[in-house]
């Protein structure tokens, strides 16, 4: 056997993305193949490059295999591990140059990132606390308890200018200070992992890939402010994250990092998991607290802020998953190290889930202040199939849609807000010319309207009104005054809502009207959807020169709206057609006889 095999490790990404592409089967197969060899095959959390999953990385040589299948396992072992000949056909394929890149460090997607919070994700087995400890884990809490006073920790967090990574960007140090100063017999700490934004999965990936970094951050916060009891609020929709957190808490308990007298400090702290039951509004802190108390997740008026009166009326510290995961780094490496990253007002790094019509989908960590262009083109590799970029949606239903002209915007809390978007939980969805902006606004509003808890009338009723108007517009019944009405409603909803949901729900509409006004006007005045998304504003037509009369569209049309004899060109009976698009889907790609047109129904 090769000498280097002694320290050989094969890492299999077992994040949700890769597991859904059968990474667990690959892990089993690798374990089976290496049963009698001195090779450590281990599951890890998300490597981030979900687009190319399932990912397998070999160490110490750092070779990345992409889109691996169980059938490839034998070859990887025989050729690479046994004979030192890496399997070239499984290397990452650079779409632009066509070149094959063996080492993950050389792949553009990783090269431009600065993985600080995600430092261990993909490199440690999340179900083994010892691996986290080997990487320097739980040293920050030891340092905080043995060498520092709470005052010193508070000053350090304050000095780092760390801002809450849940989206709003409130200064973490201040929040901790408020909670520390609050006088009470009991205090609580909560980790907000209610990542409800569609299109984002950063919190989940941190939980799944490096749960101990979050737990360590929570323990540091708790022992600093004087909380004895804490909760990790995680979505029940994330079963893998829940499972790994349970294992991690159990292991931390056994090692004495949780429980009584942590590191002989005379400080006790217990941490448990609370599974959310599916309500977007619970990402708002007061709603989340109500939910833990066993109530409907309705937000309440602030002040008093949770730092004074939170869970069961006691002072409560609430931070996002990534905020807590940043804490051990700051304690270990110092304020100066942290403040070197980022912009004047937003320090450190930010994590985004880059998805949609982008070549490299995945989880991305970059220093604050990187431009959107660098993220989309530098890391993301541009749009899928090089289609024309249209907009990037940032911050989920609370965020906004930014056009190409803003691609050089530096990404940080303040500049995003100024542009009308927000950091939100960090979802970035790239959309190309095939996306209809009115349809996208309708999509987000449909979501927020359903998720509105109903407490404030402007949010409950206003979002419904806006949705009705948008529905009219996409159905071709829009009126010229609709746009002003939408803007009026947007302003009232923002002003009259208690919590972040209502205050930000109109953002997608405001930004799309601001940056893509023309598209709204086309829908309303010309009854035209240039992206050919809005069913009422498109029509289908069979090109008689291309149609071979294969009858596929005829058989599949649910409305019997297609006529024609076998082997002769078919025809769509326009007045029967509901534009469901099935014929378009079913027509074999090499024939492509069915064409879609923007504009009102054509008459033949």
């Amino acid at each position: 056997m090769n000498k280097s095999n002694k320290s050989r490790e094969i890492l299999v990404c077992c994040g949700t993305g890769c597991v859904s592409a059968k990474a667990d089967k690959i892990l089993d197969a690798l374990k089976q193949e290496t049963k009698n060899k001195k090779i450590n095959v281990k599951p890890t959390g998300c490597h981030g490059f979900c687009q190319e999953g399932p990912l397998v990385i070999t160490e110490p040589d750092g070779i990345l295999y992409s889109r691996t299948k169980t059938e490839d396992v034998k070859e990887i072992i025989n050729s690479h591990i046994e004979n030192n000949k890496p399997v070239e056909r499984l290397f990452y394929h650079e779409p632009k140059t066509g070149g094959k890149i063996p080492h993950y460090k050389d792949i553009q997607f990783y090269k431009k990132q600065n993985r600080v919070i995600l430092r261990n994700c993909g490199h440690v087995n999340p179900e083994d606390i010892n691996e986290y400890i080997e990487k320097g884990g739980y040293r920050a809490i030891e340092k905080a308890l043995k060498e520092m006073t709470p005052e010193k920790v508070l000053n350090m967090i304050n000095g780092s200018s760390l801002r809450g990574l849940g989206g709003a960007g409130f200064h973490t140090g201040l929040k901790w200070r408020f909670c520390y100063n609050a006088k009470a017999d009991e205090k609580y700490i909560i980790c907000n992992g209610d990542e409800g934004d569609p299109g984002s999965f950063q919190d989940r990936s941190v939980f799944e890939g490096d749960p101990h970094s979050v737990i360590e951050g929570i323990i540091i916060a708790a022992t600093t402010i004087g909380a004895k009891k804490g909760f990790i609020y995680v979505r029940a929709e994330y079963p893998l994250a829940v499972k790994r957190l349970k294992i991690a808490l159990d292991q931390a308990q056994k090692k004495g990092f949780l429980g009584k007298n942590i590191f002989d400090s005379n400080k006790d702290f217990d941490l448990e998991i609370f599974q959310g039951a599916g309500a977007f509004v619970c990402g708002e802190e007061t709603a989340l607290i109500a939910s833990i108390e066993g109530k409907r997740g309705a937000p309440r008026h602030r002040p008093p802020f949770p730092a004074e009166s939170g869970l069961w009326g006691k002072p409560t510290l609430l931070n996002n998953v990534k905020t807590y995961a940043s804490i051990p780094n700051i304690i270990n490496n110092g304020v100066e190290w942290f403040t070197k990253m980022g912009t004047d007002n937003s320090k450190g790094t930010a994590i985004f889930s880059l998805t949609g019509e982008v070549a490299n989908c995945g989880l991305v960590e970059v220093p604050m202040g990187m431009t959107l262009r660098e993220i989309i083109y530098g890391i993301g590799g541009g749009t899928t199939d090089n289609k024309k970029f249209k907009e990037i949606q940032i911050g989920g239903p609370s965020g906004g849609c930014l056009p190409e002209s803003l691609l050089d915007l530096p990404v940080d809390f303040d500049s995003l807000k100024e542009a009308g978007a927000m950091m939100g939980s960090g979802g970035m969805v790239v959309m190309d010319e095939s996306t209809c902006m009115v349809d996208v606004s309708k999509y987000f509003l449909d979501f927020t309207q359903k998720e509105s808890c109903g407490y404030c009338s402007p949010c409950r009723l206003g979002t419904k009104q806006m949705l009705d108007i948008l529905n009219d517009i996409v159905e071709g019944k829009g009126k010229p005054e609709d746009m002003d009405l939408l803007m009026d409603l947007a302003i009232s909803i923002k002003a009259g809502s208690l919590c972040g949901l209502g205050q930000t729900a109109p953002n997608p509409i405001i930004t799309t009207i601001k940056y893509f006004r023309q598209e709204y006007e086309e829908h309303i005045n010309d009854k035209l959807c240039r992206a050919k998304k809005c069913k009422a504003l498109i029509s289908f037509y069979i090109n008689p020169e291309k149609c071979t009369g294969c009858h596929l569209c005829f058989t599949n049309c649910p409305e019997n709206a297609i006529e024609g004899e076998a082997k002769k060109p078919h025809k769509i009976i326009q007045h029967k057609c509901t534009r469901c698009g099935i014929c378009f889907e079913k027509c074999p790609p090499k024939i492509s006889a069915i064409e879609s047109y923007a504009g009102e129904k054509i008459r033949i």
Binding site: G356, E357, E585
Partner: protein, 156 residues
């Protein structure tokens, strides 16, 4: 029913703040929240019945009707929406003959659209009994359900 519920809630202490985990546990065991179970939970946790129903109806996770053997969840997250989640839902609806939110009469399928299952890189995607199927189109959906139906037949 009472005996079964007693067993399901045996690890709970009967405090009002346990309401959500208790309902989750009941649903985990029974597949949904029958009316009797909610009444039992109200008594067990000493909270008004109206509160139990208020909480259960507030959160998307809870359901009041039994589900089919195959639970199909269609992701309608942003990435999936952009990549055609609507078409995916339509196609599945055609394949299994039920609309979004319905359960088939033979209790084989329940079809539901959900906010986001977090597999955005595989968009558009669905889960069938927590198994993820990604990068779908009309053809691959047809294939999945042909196979499913064939499996059912052999099981019969």
């Amino acid at each position: 029913m009472e005996k079964e519920l007693n067993k399901i809630l045996s690890s709970f202490q009967g405090k009002s703040n346990e309401l959500i985990p208790a309902l989750q546990q009941i649903q985990e065991e029974l597949g949904y929240l029958p009316g009797d179970a909610m009444l039992y939970a109200a008594e067990f946790l000493n909270v008004p019945e109206s509160t139990v129903f208020g909480v259960a109806s507030f959160y998307a996770q809870f359901r009041f009707t039994p589900v089919g053997k195959n639970m199909i969840m269609v992701c309608k997250g942003t990435a999936c929406h952009v990549k055609g989640a609507e078409k995916v839902l339509d196609e599945i609806s055609r394949q299994v003959g039920i609309e979004d939110g319905e359960t088939s009469a033979d209790m084989q399928y329940t079809l539901e659209s959900v906010a986001c299952i977090g597999c955005c890189a595989l968009a558009p995607c669905i889960t069938i009994n927590s198994e993820v199927h990604g990068r779908l189109n009309a053809k691959s959906i047809e294939k999945i359900f042909k196979r499913k139906k064939a499996e059912e037949k052999t099981n019969e």
